[in-house]
Amino acid sequence: MTQIPSDQLGDYVEAEIQRLLAEDTAVAEQGITVTRREHMLVLTGEVETPARREQILHLLAEHFPGVAVRAEIGITRAEPPVDAEEIS
């Protein structure tokens, strides 16, 4: 994984990435949390399909080629629930 200069991984990059994920016309993800770690960004959250996770990674590689990204993005399950909540 490529290490990037610390001046590239500052507050502004973190903010730009958060906005890019929401505002990019193809991605439009607001549910992904961007956390800055030493020399890398960690993305956490869930999306509906594996293709959407790949879209996010592709977008970041395109716009921030020097930033190392660790994607901890899951795919939300869509099975029926196992029980119902009783509300009285």
Binding site: T25, A28, Q30, G31, T33, G45, E46, E48, T49, A51, R52, T76, R77, A78, E79, P80, P81, V82, D83, A84, E85, E86, I87, S88
Partner: protein, 251 residues
């Protein structure tokens, strides 16, 4: 007993079609109604709404929806609503509907809602025109939601929103963004009527359960929160929750 299924934030596009359908086809045996808590589409296009219609239409039970912020993004709200309506999905915005479930009359009042924050950390209608417009938007939506809830002629009332009416169900989200996730004004509206349950979406990193100051149960049914195709709620006894004393006196 009334049986309610609910999910929000399904963010449909062509790539999601078919993911929910196997679980949804079980619903006629499990629920009296399915509530969709907004962000049904990814960008708010009519084309995406057609995918919502394909996935959530024709299920053999009433489907009631509110829109979310994503459903507004491409400024195609009339087209989105048209696609959903043609599939038999009823879209509420400051409006309500009553369903005869066979176990009693279930009333649903719905509104997208909006932001502003919660007690002690909320926006005020003060200062720049943009700030005042922001708060007024939420106040107007909440006012209409409260009126609709109070006017429903039914045995059990449920409030359906996209934005959160309480901070409880936002736990897990960064506190700094709470004002963009909901407003106490929605909770106040819900507490102004004998509401049995309030469901919302929007907060993907939030948690499932909360309570309004007036004691109404609030459930965050955003898909990434419930991690199933939908959540199921059984409302027993059909006993309406009494409104808090201050609202009973003023309304």
């Amino acid at each position: 007993m009334m049986r309610i299924a609910a999910v929000g934030d399904v963010h449909m596009d062509a790539d999601v079609v078919g993911r929910f359908r196997p679980a949804l086809e079980l619903l006629p045996d499990l629920a009296d109604v399915l509530l969709l808590a907004g962000d049904l589409t990814r960008h708010g296009t009519a084309a995406e709404a057609r995918h919502v219609a394909t996935e959530f239409g024709g299920l053999g039970l009433p489907v009631i929806a509110v829109l979310g912020n994503h459903d507004h993004h491409c400024d195609e709200v009339p087209g989105v609503i048209d696609e959903l309506t043609r599939a038999g999905i009823q879209v509420l915005e400051g409006t309500g509907t009553v369903i005869d479930t066979g176990h009693g009359r279930l009333g649903v009042a719905g509104a997208k809602g909006f932001g502003g924050g919660f007690a002690g950390r909320c926006a005020s209608e003060f200062g720049e025109p943009e700030m005042k417009a922001f708060v007024r938007t939420t106040a107007r939506i909440a006012d209409r939601l409260g009126t609709t809830l109070r006017e429903l002629d039914c045995d059990v009332r449920v409030a359906l929103t996209h934005y959160a009416p309480v901070p409880d169900t936002l736990t897990g989200e960064p506190p700094e963004i709470y004002p963009f996730l909901g407003s106490y004004l929605l909770g106040q509206a819900i507490d102004s009527a004998p509401t049995a349950l309030a469901v919302h979406g929007h907060a993907h990193a939030g948690c499932e359960r909360g309570l309004t100051p007036g004691g109404v149960r609030v459930r965050n049914v955003a898909h990434p929160v419930i991690r199933h195709a939908y959540a199921l709620f059984h409302i027993n006894g059909a006993e309406p929750v009494e409104p808090p004393r201050e609202f009973a006196a003023s309304h």
